[in-house]
Each structure stands twice: as C-alpha cells, then as structure tokens.
Symmetry: C2
Subunit: 373 residues, 2 copies
C-alpha cells in the first residue's frame, strides 16, 4: 500500500477524526478524473463495486470506471434508477445478489457515485456485504457533498419510515469534485443549500452571515464560493460527528435540526414529492417557530432564516396535509424515546438544543402556523 497523500488530489482537505476510522475528504475542482490514483493512494484496491444511478451514470460512470481500470482495478458497475425508491430492501437484495454473482469478496471495495440516495444505499451494501467492505464515496450533489460525506450513516427505507434500517459505516475516503455541481439541475442544487444554511444556524453565526452576504455568487455557483461552503459545511459536521460518532451522547442529534418535521413531511407527502433539502427548509422554519413557542428563540431569528431560504429559492410554507398523519409520522422518528417527542430547538443563530418532552399540541402548532397565509 502506498502512503496516503490525498492532498495531491484536492485544493482543500477536511480531516474527519474518528480514531482508527479517520479519513480525509478531498475537495477540488476537476479532480474526478483522478479517482483511480486517489483510491489507490488510500488502499490497495483490486476490485471495486461501483454503484450509481441512471442519471449520474450518464455523465460520470464511464470516466470514473475508466480511471479505476487504468489503475488495474476490476470494476463491477451496478446502476439503479435515480430517486428515493431505490433506497429499498428490494434494491439492496438486487445489489447483494449482483455483486455476489460478479465474485465480490472480502477484499473488494464499494464506491458510491451519486447523491445521498446512492451514498446511503451503497454504504449499506458496503456495511453488510461479507460483513463489511471498504467504502469510498464520490458525492455528486451539493446535498451529498455537505451532508452524506461526513457521518457514516448508511441505510435504507421501509414503507413506513425513512432510514430505519442501516448501520454506522465510515468511508475510507471521500472525493468531492465541485465541478460536477455545474451540471446539477437547479432545483437539486438549491435543495442542497438548505443543509448549508442549517450548519450556520446550529453552529456558526459567522458562516450564516457569510451566506446572507453571498446569495448571488451562491446562486451563480461561483467556484470559489462553492469550495468555501462545501469545505466549511464538512468541517462543521466533522466536528460534531467526531464528538458523537454513533449519536449516543445527544450532541450529534443537533444535526437533525428541522429533520423531525422534514421526515414527517417526506413520509406523508410521499417519498419524492419534496427533495430532501426542500423538506429541510420547511422543517427548519417549523423548528424555529417551535423555539418561539417554547420562549427560547426570537421571531427575528426565524425571520432571518425565512429571508435567506427564500432568497436561495427554497420553499418555506408548510403544505396542507393530514395533520394526524404528520403527528403519527413524527412519533415514529428515531429521536423519539419511549413515545416522547424530542426536537432540536434553536436558542440563537449558532446554537441549538436537544429538547425532550415537547407537548404534541405545541409541536403541531409550530407546523400549522407555517401554512401559507
């Protein structure tokens, strides 16, 4: 194995410190073509199961596959339909069986090439195939670059709940090429910005101000600004994950700011109706209103988020859906402990608090108050 020198493949490197599971995120522009040399600089890889979706595959499957092959790596290409429905038991079974049919073994690696769905699904395959394979991620959406590339959460959905089946499985390395964002559909790009805004709200008021001051270059996908927001988002998430890798101390739960509402919205509206970041935007504002109702957050701070999310083209209104179904979906949230609703509630821009025992009626008021007036 050659010594690790992932800085060769990036303008910027974010280290994710997780003792023997530590790894680097290599962030660059145009570094996708170097994936073969990058991966062999990290591990001795001779067989890669390359998992992608049909949208991403159209642009990047062959360049990535060729780059891997040029390093002598045998590549098994597995392509699933784009979209959340692929994060299923049925698709997992298909991938397990196809990988096995193409002679996967314990020395094989899994490479995820795609957005969050592909990262979660391919990571689950890596975590469970022959009880665990080396895993590498190449996130191709803004959301996946700033969210899925740190944290080690992998998994699939059941019809009744998202991400309910899965593991913690850290990648050996993450390669981010911000140039791939140039071809990302506008709606998907904007969706990713919701998680970027989230990092500002939960951890970094200066970063939030930076976003407020740079709305136009962000919308223009300015290369310099893109590297900055991707790297800072990864850094912030890495800080949290390093202190609470398996979400046991409660610290890591702050990353779920807005997500209880978000998951309920996704579940009840039907997976795929809202993009994840869109649902996060709506969910963050619900959680902000909840903070107001609990007397810990100022209406002005909700207003700042509302204004920034609106400027970034994200949805802010709560849609009219069956309220009993929304409440029921929130009760199945993984943060629920023995039936009690828990929320991440903001206290100011830059600080949120895990708040247990939130009364159901207050939680639902913060939801219904978001209906378009």
């Amino acid at each position: 194995m050659t010594p690790t020198d992932s800085t060769r493949f990036a303008s910027q490197t974010v280290h994710v410190p997780l003792s023997e599971r530590s790894y680097d995120i290599s962030i660059g522009t145009g570094n996708l073509a170097e994936v073969g040399r990058w991966i062999t600089s990290l591990r001795s890889v001779t067989h890669a199961v390359l998992i992608s979706d049909d949208h991403v595959a159209r642009h990047y499957l062959e360049p990535v596959s060729e780059s891997l092959k040029s390093e002598g790596i045998r590549v098994t290409k597995l392509v699933v339909p784009a979209g959340e429905p692929s994060k299923s038991v049925a698709t997992s079974q298909e991938l397990w069986e196809k990988a096995l049919a193409d002679r996967v073994d314990r020395k094989s690696s899994v490479v995820a090439l795609g957005g969050g769905v592909i990262g979660d699904l391919a990571g689950f395959i890596a975590a469970t195939m022959t009880r665990g394979l080396d895993f590498f991620q190449i996130p191709t959406t803004l959301l996946a670059q700033v969210d899925s590339s740190v944290g080690g959460k992998v998994g699939i959905n059941l019809p009744a709940a998202k991400n309910i089946v899965g593991c913690f499985w850290q990648p050996r390395g993450v390669l981010i090429d911000t140039a791939v964002l140039e071809t990302l559909p506008k709606r998907e790009y904007l969706s990713g910005l919701a998680e970027v805004v989230k990092y500002g709200v939960i951890l970094d008021p200066e970063f939030f101000e930076y976003l407020e001051a740079n709305v136009q270059p962000i919308l223009d996908r300015d290369a310099t600004v893109l590297q900055k927001i991707v790297a800072r988002s990864c850094e912030l998430k890495a800080q949290v994950v390093a202190e609470d890798e398996r979400e046991t101390t409660g610290l890591r739960a702050i990353l779920n700011y807005g997500h209880t509402y978000c998951h309920a919205l996704e579940t009840v509206s039907g997976y795929g109706e809202y993009l994840h970041g869109e649902a996060v935007a709506v969910g963050m504002l619900c959680a902000s209103r909840l903070g107001e109702k609990l007397g810990v957050f100022a209406p002005e701070a909700t207003e700042r988020q509302h204004k920034l999310l609106t400027a970034l083209g994200l949805p802010v209104d709560v849609p009219k859906l069956d309220e009993a179904a929304i409440l029921s979906a929130m009760q199945r949230d993984k943060k629920v402990e023995h039936g009690k609703l828990r929320f991440i509630v903001p206290h100011c821009i830059g600080k949120v608090v895990l708040t247990p025992d939130v009364p159901q009626d207050v939680a639902m008021q913060a939801w219904t108050d978001g209906y378009a007036s």
Copy 2:
C-alpha cells in the same frame, strides 16, 4: 442501571474480552426463568423485541416473555418458522416491519431465543434496526451455545451463498441454560457436538482427549459434562475472537476449520438437508485428508477424528453430489481472496494453519476420497 453481577445467574461465567464490547456468558442449569432479572442486571431495558422460531417458542417463549414482563419490560414477540430458510432477506424485511409497527426505537433491545439461525437472524435485525440495538442471546441448541454465543457474527443467506450478508455485532450478554438441551432432538444435539470436537482439534489436545474419554456421558447428556464442554468451548472460541474480532489478522479464520467443505456441502445439497454440525463433521474429515495430501497431517490423526465423530453418531462419509457444483460453491467461500482457495489445514490435533493457494484438484481429491467405500 444496576451494577452488572451476571454471576448471580450462572454456575459458571465466561468473559469475552472485546474492550468496550466485552460481555459475559452466564452458563447454568435451570437459569432460563431468571432471564428478566439477568437482563436488567446488565442494561436498563424497557422494550424487548423477542425473536424465536415456532419450535423453540412452543416450549420457552412464554416463560421467557413472562420473566421479562415481570421486570416491567414491554415485549414484542416475533416468531418465524424453524429452519435455515428463515435466514433470508424476506424474513428480515418482515421482522423489520413488524418491529417498527410495534414501535421499536433506539432504546429497544433485541433478544434472540433459539438456535444458530435465530441468533444470526435476530442479531442481523439488532445490528441494522435504527442503525443498531442492544442485543442479548439465549441460545437453545448445543451448536448455538458453543458457537453462536461467541463471535458477534450475525447475518442472513442469499440463495447463492450462506452468511454472505451481515455484520459484526456483539451481544451485551449471553444466557446459557444447559437444561434446555434435555429436550433437544437427538439429531440436533449430536450435530452440536461436531463444533465441540472442532475446538479440540484446532486448539486443545487435552480437551480432545477428554471428549474421547467421555463419549458415553456426553451421549447421555450428563449435566456436569455438559457444563464442562459448553464452558470450555466458549472459552476457547473467546480466546480466538478476542485476538481477531473482525477476522482481519487471519487468526480467527482457524474457527473455520472444516467449514469451506461444510458450506459447499450445505449449498449444493440444499440448505436444510444436512444440519450444520453434520456438515461440519464431514467437512473436518475432508480438511484432515487435505492435510494428509499436503504432507502436514498424519493419517492416524484423521483416524482419531473419524473414530470420535462416529462414536458421537455424526456422519463421516461424503455424499455423491455434482463435483463441479461443489468446487464452484467453494470458490464463493468468504475465505477466498481474489479467486484463490484457502483452507484451514490441521498440522496435529490442537493446531491448524490457514493455508493459501491450495490447488483445486488437491482440494477436490480430499473431497472425493471421502465417498463411502
């Protein structure tokens, strides 16, 4: 949480040292009825997903469930058909969905009550439900008591290969009641003895001699002898697992003595035709003959195993099956690295060696030489 004092619930305790994943195996006679107090002595448990099969459930589901309930634990009882076919993706999906429907959350625990199939299946559910639940095992077959209760290997089968999907997931505690073995069908009891013999061959010549000298009390299921062989088997396996928890150094692979042939036999004959221990018995003798052919093992030592396994009522002859299918199944074994066959080959009673690059024709001769003459 009350302090751990698992010795209260056992005549003998075997500690499995795995740093923060360490746990105790509590071995006793008639201690099954104390499972509620035992589990609450280890962890604060308020909801248990109790997984069993229809055979075991008939005798033990209610006593175990009642014991848990008497400690204030809510119990979700999930019973699957007995037998290897339940270690499937379809059954896993059913269990995930039923557990979710009965409000499983991250603080829930999974309790496996049954043999190896239930331990592997329930452990896989524990490893993957909400990304990992506390797991407790109550193995009810001799095979599960001496094998599945140490090691943390959990998983399911695909049609083309056994145990190919799974995780390493350590239990928080294992409760062994040797009294349940009294009602075990004879064939299943004898099957478990194959793994006991295996520990002697791979690690402990004195234990092997003890078995040779105690065939009749073993067949009579003498309580004292049972405790001795279960405890010693767990100790020996714990030693190995402690040094190579995730099978990365090669040391742990010695536990797979006989298992490459065994898995091929199980796959090609159809899951369920042979009990696992029966296939292990046949497989160990194949591996012994392989040792002879490679010039590292004496025919007399093969003969000692043959004699002991025969005395214990285990099958020793290789059945006539499609040889190409056997070879192909061995090539899909998880010990295979990039197409090369690797075997655990005995050098003497008490010592085995992981041997790479075994030629296919020699491996197959060791198989065909075992046909009944």
